[in-house]
């Protein structure tokens, strides 16, 4: 069995895990990051894409609001290449308690969330589709964030500093020697090969799966209650500003414009299994109805896709009273030093929290790691820009069209909806060394537009086939896998325009390609 040896093994390749890897690498530690799927495919890749201003928590959870407000500024500075500076509104619709608006304004003032009340007419001028019966409106610095760009920028940055990033490697055992954790055994889910990673410190950044990893280490009571939330992406941007209802956070009270779509979310339903991605029809209907409250006509617009994600809601069932747990109760995230909590050294669990505070979570974690290693090194992630972000330019939805216009005649267009040219797909396949078109999708948004791959994915499969060492059956497999994956998010919203699209796609896949009988 192959062996790796490192300072820090990070289990979990979401924003937090990638953030820990980047932070530790920046501090000069040697890092191995393992993730059972592709990076950003757990909770990080399954949310609506909001970079919080903190407004959402201004009343309900002031310390979280404060934390978000500070991290919002930092993440904007270090990762503009993943961020669209949409700005955000909190608006009082006729469905909201009008008294909340004053509490909201006060909450923002008390927590440092930048907030400016504007005339409802001004909000309507900027967002003409907004409910015209809005009575109050506040402007906050919400933004949208392309999480795959963020996570891969973190991973690339870590790699540039020597880190080894291993997607599709699942932790199958944690090596425990008495009261000491010494790394883990991971299995390559594609080849089945196993690998031993020997590490001075093991960090479980596995979010909703943290209980499972702790279990592998023989540690009891790390309970993360997965809270399932549903999101629906609409076919185009009905708003260009993040729009929140000005009320206590509840279901379906936000629409986030991100890249070419806008996403309405979400719910919070307890579930047992963090891998439970089931979509409940009533929730779909409810989301569309909630969207309608913010943007009249919403439910008649074309829904593109639906998905669910699970929040990692941490509850420590280990009742060891005072001082045993390092969990800072005032924080939304939880860092467990298992030396303090369980007397087991070399092992930390970081869970809870939210994407906006991923950097802070990573900082806290690596601070604790350094402390245990007896080698305190300062954190620099708040000022060090991520790869790709050095020009300080935010993403703009117009960018791709502008780029496409410059290369209209010298590069073939493969994904028409997301305007992805052939060269980008070829480069990505080569760089990732992947045969999985879903990996390419996350990096480029391949097939994420209106036709959901109906017009591009066989082209991409053809390009894949042209690469060295990829045979017909592998390319066909990639095509089928992609189509099956897309279908999961399409079938629950099959009505109207997307139903027509699905029929046409189906005729192409079945009638033209005979996809079920590909060699």
């Amino acid at each position: 069995m192959e062996k790796l040896s490192t300072d820090v093994l990070v289990i979990g390749g979401g924003a937090t895990g990638a953030g820990v890897a980047w932070d530790a690498a920046l501090r000069g530690l040697d890092v191995v990051l393992v993730e059972r799927g592709d990076l950003g495919t757990g909770t990080s890749g399954r949310f609506h894409g909001l970079l919080h201003s903190g407004g959402r928590y201004a009343v309900k959870d002031p310390s979280a609001a404060d934390e978000c407000a500070r991290e919002n500024l930092i993440v904007r500075h270090i990762a503009p290449d993943a961020i669209e500076d949409t700005g955000g509104f909190f608006v009082t619709t006729p469905f909201d308690d009008p008294a909340y608006a004053d509490r909201f304004a006060l909450g923002c003032r008390n927590t440092g969330v930048p907030c400016e009340e504007i005339e409802p007419a001004q909000a309507l001028r900027e967002e003409p589709r907004l409910n015209p019966r809005v009575s109050r409106a506040f402007r906050v610095p919400d933004a949208s964030i392309d999480v795959w760009r963020l996570v891969w920028a973190l991973a690339r940055g870590a790699q540039e500093r020597g880190a080894r990033v291993l997607p599709y490697h699942e932790a199958v055992a944690v090596h425990r020697d008495g009261d000491e954790i010494k790394g883990a055994r991971v299995r390559n889910s594609r080849t089945g090969d196993e690998l031993d990673v020997e590490a001075r410190i093991t960090v479980s950044a596995s979010g909703a799966w943290a209980g499972k990893i702790a279990g592998l280490a023989g540690i009891e009571g790390v309970q993360v209650r997965p809270g399932r939330g549903i999101m629906i992406a609409m076919n185009h941007r009905l708003v260009n500003t993040v729009v929140n209802r000005c009320q206590m956070p509840t279901d379906g009270d936000i629409i986030v414009p991100i890249r070419t779509v806008c996403v309405v979310g979400t719910t919070d339903v307890d579930t047992e299994d963090p891998d439970d991605h089931s979509v409940i029809q009533d929730e779909v209907d409810a989301m569309l109805a909630y969207g309608e409250r913010l943007v009249p006509g919403f439910k008649d617009a074309r829904a593109l896709r639906v998905w669910t994600g699970v929040r990692p809601l941490f509850e420590d069932t280990k009742g060891n009273g005072d001082g045993g747990s390092s969990r800072d109760v005032t924080r939304a995230h939880a860092l467990l030093d298992h030396m303090d909590r369980d007397g087991v050294s070399g092992f930390f669990t970081i869970t809870g929290g939210k994407l906006t505070t991923y950097r802070l979570m990573a900082q806290d974690t690596v601070d604790a790691v350094c402390r245990q290693l007896g080698d305190p090194r300062p954190c620099t992630t708040a000022t060090e820009r991520l790869p790709g972000s050095h020009d300080g330019e935010y993403i703009r939805v117009e960018d791709r069209l502008g780029r496409r216009e410059r290369h209209l005649r010298d590069d073939q267009l493969i994904c028409e909806c997301e305007l992805i040219p052939r060269r980008r797909i070829e480069d990505t396949i080569r760089q990732r060394g992947t045969t999985d078109l879903d990996d390419v999708r996350r990096l480029l948004r391949l097939g994420m537009g209106p036709c959901q791959g109906g017009f591009c994915i066989y082209r991409a499969a053809g390009i894949l086939h042209g690469h060295d060492g990829i045979d017909t059956s592998q390319a066909n497999r990639a095509l089928v896998d992609y189509v099956l994956e897309r279908w999961k998010g399409v079938w629950p919203i099959l009505y109207g325009d997307q139903l027509r699209q699905a029929r046409l796609d189906d005729w192409i896949f079945q009638g033209v390609l005979d996809i079920e009988h590909l060699p």
């Binding site: 070419t260 006509g297 117009e398 791709r400 028409e416 909806c417 046409l504």
Partner: protein, 407 residues
């Protein structure tokens, strides 16, 4: 800010696009040049990347000629051409509108300038040296078909014309082409209408604003079309119909001004829009009711008929074909070429003339193959292009009816 609001219904229609590509198969422009990537790309696809008020580096949509065939053929109801018109407007807003476009978009200004000095102006427009100069200075292609000034106006004729004292009142919306270049076509339209029992009124009127709209000058286009609506509405209020012979200008009144310029809420325009008829549409309705005079004398001609894109945008079929079929002796070949290429002012432009000629090539070849000596076509700019491309005379279908009535 009004742009934001009026744009929404068009933008909503992009949701209906299923990428089927039918629009791209019918687009006359993208089929002959790689400079225009096609209606699906420029319309519903690119629209997802456009944010009101935010600049985007795009230029290719300016190569859309605005013929509207994409919208007409879209089985899902996407307002493709209209989305493109808006994108073109945004491109022009950002990049500025060249003097040339401002000029050729104002036929009334050109008409007023050219008419009093018609012989001189026409000679200048025919002279190679002036055309080369015009191309260099203004960017109007030296070979592009420019009409000759008639040297008189249709309004001048109409003021003196004494029609019948009785009959059903109808308002004639002649267009700028009739006014300054082809007053004789207008006279024939009036004669045919009067022969069928109408009392034709010709109120003072101006350009409908279509050339301004297609050149991305929306604000000016709005002024023009609303002024026209104010002039025509008082007549329409008592139920009087408005009839026109220029299919692009009538479709502007019927539909495009409301949809593209977002004037859905103007009551005058709404009224005018409802009451406006294309002349062939009106005459065929008369015939369907048994009220059209059919005292047609034989016309021994072979004629090819081309329905202009904007005529097809009326969604009325091809009434001219049914009318021409009533004329004894006349042999009519229906052509199925997409477009003559000119698209109003598009083919006049230096950088687009060759595209227009390439678009028209199919039509020109069909005319040649048909053996027809004459081409009937409802739109004046198309007729000028057809004459340019085929070296055959092109007439409005009503001119043939006029001839057959022996009026």
């Amino acid at each position: 800010m009004i742009e934001d609001l009026l744009h929404e219904p068009l933008r909503n229609s992009l949701d209906h696009c299923v990428k089927c590509t039918i629009c791209e198969t019918v687009c006359p422009v993208s089929n002959v040049t790689p400079l225009f990537p096609g209606p699906k790309y420029a319309g519903p696809q690119a629209e997802r990347y456009r944010e009101q008020g935010e600049p985007v580096d795009e230029w290719s949509v300016d190569y859309c000629s605005g013929c509207g065939l994409c919208t007409m053929h879209c089985p899902q109801g996407v307002k493709i051409a209209e989305l493109n018109a808006h994108a073109r407007y945004a491109v022009k807003q950002r990049g500025g509108v060249p003097l040339r476009d401002r000029l050729i978009a104002r036929p009334t200004v050109l008409g007023r300038l050219g008419t009093p000095v018609a012989p001189l102006a026409n000679a200048a427009l025919r002279a190679r040296a002036t055309r080369v100069l015009t191309e260099r200075l203004l960017g109007i292609h030296r070979d592009a078909p420019l009409p000759a000034f008639a040297g008189r106006t249709f309004q001048g004729w109409a003021r003196k014309h004494e029609g019948p004292a009785t009959g059903t009142k109808i308002v004639y919306f002649h267009n700028c082409g009739t006014e300054y270049y082809e007053p004789d076509v207008g006279e024939k339209v009036v004669a045919v209408l009067e022969h069928n029992g109408y009392r034709v009124e010709v109120p003072k009127q101006d350009c409908c604003g279509l050339p301004l709209q297609s050149n991305g000058l929306f604000e000016d286009a709005r002024k023009y079309v609303l002024r026209l609506a104010r002039a025509l509405a008082p007549h329409a209020r008592d139920g009087t119909l408005i009839v026109g012979n220029a299919t692009s200008c009538t479709v502007m009144l019927k539909r495009e001004a409301r949809e593209i310029l977002g004037l859905e809420d103007d009551p005058d325009l709404a009224l005018v829009s409802r009451q406006t008829y294309d002349v062939c549409e009106l005459l065929l309705e008369l015939h369907d009711r048994g009220e059209l005079k059919t005292d047609f004398q034989p016309v021994e001609e072979v004629v090819a008929y081309h329905a202009p894109c904007q005529q097809q945008g009326h969604w009325i079929g091809k009434p001219a074909l049914d009318l021409l079929a009533l004329i004894p002796g006349l042999v009519v070949h229906e052509l199925d070429a997409r477009c003559c290429g000119i698209a109003g002012t598009y083919g006049l432009k230096r950088e687009k003339y060759q595209i227009a000629m390439d678009v028209g090539a199919d039509l020109f070849n069909q005319v040649a193959a048909s053996g027809a000596g004459l081409v009937a076509c409802d739109s004046e700019t198309c007729r000028w292009m057809i004459e340019h491309g085929t070296h055959r005379r092109s007439v409005h279908p009503v001119e043939l009816l006029h001839q057959a009535y022996r009026l």
